[in-house]
């Protein structure tokens, strides 16, 4: 949700704290909260409307899910919260929930006369922020505003962490450099969670003054520009200021770039560090973003790596990831990436882990460091890209992961992706369209969640055949870690980012999957890719299609939630496809891909720039406002790149190797200028 725009009060606070204080209009809030109510039962609808009006909320009601979706799409910032019935004739309530989560990232409350444990559990796993049993009492409705506040708060946190703070340019710059080199890395790695809150703020947010920053939408193009700039500068040297200059986009501030860079880095990191999905990795990574991603990132990273490695992050995987991302809430950030770190891909993992962070939701376990294990071969950029894609995938995977359990990594990525933004949607969309680079194996990037996952998985799997891949599964999982429901079997190596299955694949792959699953909100398209990256790196020919996948997200992100997520994934994948160009060159791609991702995602700053080193390029894609995950990833990634990540060593190693072309993740992430290249692989 656009914190910024919606209610004036809530939008501004840049820093979470600030937000709390400043944004909320104490005198008026929660009055005026814009609620969208969806229920096919006219009696209930009428009663709810009346109750909500009595609570002084602004109510819009509709009796069909499709109507609700189109209303939301037309006016993305027009609503603060959605209440939806579970059983509806035209669309399942959970599906709607996923869509909304991926596309708009609004808090959604489910309700039903059904109070069975399974249904309620489903609500939780799909990411509903609350579940009401009918008949709904007005008292229950009086407090729904808390979900809005909570979400915004989390977003802000991520946002800030990603260093998107606008104001402190100069400081940021310094901090970026400095941080990256030392504190950042360590800090990030360490306590992802904590970092996220604290360190990140310290490091990244130098300017925390991002109050009321109007959200910059990192469109695919913008992200590509970003990635190109980053690649040009070299992931290590990519600082916001220079990136900004290179990009030469009017109206873009250094802070925007910084935060985007951060996300990108996280994304890259995630890509590379997917395997690590343990919190360790993520911690370090995540710190910038969401510490939670930690575990996911590792997964994601792995996935991405895998993906990267195989270069295959099929768009599909991304899609899957996205799909997974859709599950955003459901996705546990933990990247189930079982990926064994040893995967090269995981070198990125670290960065990837970051990725997980991005996802916000990713639980700390997110294996952001998916990329950690990323094989050094993967270029950081690529990783980044992967990351992105992974992220997107991750998000997707996340969801999937939940289901597939595999995409742990992917999930994280996804999660990250998801979290970062509106999740996924962009991913999906973009993946589909963009994933140009996605290796054919990848399959269609934008597969619907399921497809994506699967595709990715497939693709990746294919790739994974190669030895380096740690586990085919892991690869895929990395990619798909996204909770893509579709059990994306990310073919280990080839980050099946695209497809959801890939994600699941990721999980199986092992490393991230688990984490990713949970986390990947689905939007993380990238995630899985991260793992793949590691693998991919090995393969050197990574088709970082994932990159593209991820990136594509952005583009399409307008489309639909799922799609976007996937797209992102694909874009990420496509980026990852950077492998095609070669590692170094890859980065570029990734960036491109990443971009979409980011935009797709809610541009959450979180885009885990995890692009983990090699995935640098991915990151560029990450810039794609991968709402859901990329952002964090990206940010993470950026961190990854720079020495910040503890794991960075891994990543950086990876990245360095790849460095060649790792283009600074151009993801929209407003990285703080973290040298994306550093994604320790």
């Amino acid at each position: 949700m656009n914190l910024n725009n919606g209610k004036g009060s809530m939008s501004t606070a840049s820093s979470s704290a600030a937000w709390k204080a400043g944004d909320v209009v104490p005198d008026q809030f929660p009055a005026g909260l814009r609620v969208l109510v969806v229920d096919d039962d006219p009696t209930c609808l009428m009663i709810l409307e009346k109750m909500l009006r009595t609570c002084l909320y602004e109510v819009t009601k509709c009796n069909r899910a499709e109507t609700a979706l189109s209303l939301l799409r037309e006016n993305k910032n027009g609503y603060d919260i959605v209440i939806s019935d579970v059983h509806m004739p035209d669309m399942d309530g959970f599906k709607l929930l996923e869509h909304i989560g991926l596309e708009m990232d609004l808090p959604v409350i489910m309700m039903s006369a059904d109070d069975g444990k399974n249904v309620v559990m489903k609500g939780v796993t799909h990411g509903a922020c609350d579940y009401l049993i009918k008949p709904v009492r007005i008292e229950a409705l009086k407090n729904i505003w808390q979900h809005v506040v909570r979400k915004k708060k989390n977003e802000w946190k991520d946002f800030e962490q990603s260093g998107s703070v606008e104001e402190g340019d100069r400081q940021q710059k310094q901090s970026e450099d400095a941080d990256y080199s030392s504190s950042a890395n360590e800090g990030n790695w360490r306590n992802s969670k904590k970092r996220k809150d604290e360190e990140e703020e310290a490091e990244e947010r130098d300017d925390t003054s991002t109050l009321k920053k109007p959200r910059v939408v990192w469109s695919v193009e913008l992200h590509q520009q970003f990635v190109a700039a980053v690649n040009q500068l070299g992931i290590d040297k990519a600082v916001p200021k220079k990136i900004l200059e290179l990009m030469n986009v009017p109206g873009l501030t250094r802070e925007n770039v910084a935060s985007h860079l951060q996300k990108y880095r996280l994304y890259l990191r995630r890509l590379s560090g997917v395997s690590q999905h343990q919190n360790n990795l993520t911690n370090s990574f995540i710190s910038p973003q969401d510490a939670t991603y930690g575990p996911l990132s590792s997964l994601n990273g792995l996935d991405l790596q895998t993906l990267a490695a195989t270069g295959q992050l099929p768009a599909q995987s991304l899609a899957t990831l996205q799909a997974a991302g859709l599950g955003r809430s459901a996705v546990k950030s933990r990247m189930p990436m079982p990926i064994v770190d040893q995967r090269n891909l995981f070198s990125f993992e670290n960065p990837k882990l970051r990725f997980g962070e991005g996802q916000q939701q990713l639980s700390s376990s997110k294996p952001m460091n998916l990329l950690h294990g990323i094989p050094t071969t993967m270029e950081p950029k690529q990783l980044a890209n992967l990351h992105h894609s992974a992220q997107s995938l991750g998000s997707m995977n996340m969801q999937v992961n939940a289901h597939g359990g595999q995409g742990g990594q992917g999930d994280s990525l996804l999660m990250q992706m998801n979290q970062s933004q509106a999740r996924g949607q962009i991913l999906n969309e973009s993946t589909g369209s963009h994933v140009p680079t996605l290796t054919s194996s990848m399959g269609q990037p934008v597969l619907s969640n399921t497809v994506v996952g699967g595709v990715l998985a497939r693709n990746c799997l294919a790739e994974n055949g190669r030895g380096t891949r740690y586990n085919p599964v892991s690869h895929s999982s990395s990619m798909l870690n996204f909770p893509l429901n579709s059990t994306a079997e990310l073919s280990g190596n080839s980050f099946p980012l695209g497809s959801g299955p890939g994600i699941s694949g990721l999980t199986s792959k092992g490393t991230f999957q688990e984490e990713v699953n949970s986390e990947i909100k689905g939007s993380v398209g990238f995630m899985p890719s991260y793992d793949i990256f590691s693998d991919l790196n090995q393969h050197k020919s990574h088709d970082w299609e994932l990159h593209n996948v991820g990136m594509t997200f952005n583009d399409s992100h307008q489309n639909n939630s799922l799609q976007s997520n996937l797209d992102v994934g694909t874009s990420v994948l496509s980026h990852q496809g950077f492998s095609s160009t070669q590692r170094t060159g890859q980065n570029r791609n990734i960036s491109a891909v990443g971009k979409p991702m980011f935009t797709a995602g809610d541009t959450t700053d979180h885009v885990n720039a995890q692009n983990v080193g090699p995935i640098n390029t991915f990151f560029t894609d990450n810039s794609v406002r991968v709402k859901s995950e990329f952002v964090p990833d990206a940010s993470c990634e950026t961190n990854l790149f720079p020495e910040q990540f503890g794991q960075e060593d891994l990543m950086s190693a990876l990245l360095k190797q790849q460095q060649g072309g790792v283009a600074p993740a151009e993801n929209e992430f407003d990285f703080d200028g973290y040298p994306l290249d550093n994604i320790p692989v």
């Binding site: 006219p42 209930c44 009663i47 009346k50 009595t54 007005i138």
Partner: protein, 161 residues
């Protein structure tokens, strides 16, 4: 009948409905939601409920009348009826629906038909009661009085906004 008398009748009648289980606390919620800005709220909602229920009951009859009964569909309808009846506070209808759903799960056509009958019966009963109640309310308002909702605090139920 003078207003005071009508009001007392109204109160007694409402209490009896609660006592006999026709209505539950949810209905009170609705009553409390009614205010000057929306003086006919309860009437509107209740009318909507009637329309909706009749439609659902017809759908149910048709569904159960098929050669091969689609229990999923039947269950979906019953679920919806359960939801709307619970939202309005029609407790007995809701309970009948719950029983109905159990048989749907068992895919027992015969039992389902019986349940349908039961539900329909409860529905007719509560429909009558509510219509009577509304009529009373309208008379009170027409006579210049107001509906003494506060007298219904027997459940200690007061919604504070």
């Amino acid at each position: 009948m003078e207003v005071g008398q009508m009001q007392r009748t109204w109160v007694e009648y409402t209490k009896s409905l609660f006592r006999e289980g026709f209505l539950d606390g949810q209905f009170t919620q609705l009553q409390l939601l009614q205010d000057e800005s929306n003086p006919d709220f309860v009437v509107e909602v209740v009318s909507l409920f009637f329309e909706d229920s009749e439609r659902l009951l017809n759908d149910l009859t048709r569904a159960l009348d098929q050669q091969i009964v689609d229990f999923k569909r039947v269950d979906a309808h019953v679920h919806q009826l359960k939801g709307s009846s619970s939202s309005i506070g029609a407790q007995r209808v809701k309970n009948a629906c719950i029983a109905f759903r159990n048989f749907c799960e068992e895919q027992n056509s015969e039992a389902c038909l019986k349940c349908l009958q039961q539900v329909r019966q409860e529905y007719c009963l509560v429909k009558n009661k509510l219509e009577t109640l509304i009529r009373l309310e309208q008379q009170i308002v027409a006579a210049g009085g107001s509906i003494p909702i506060e007298e219904l605090s027997f459940q200690g139920y007061k919604v504070k906004l």
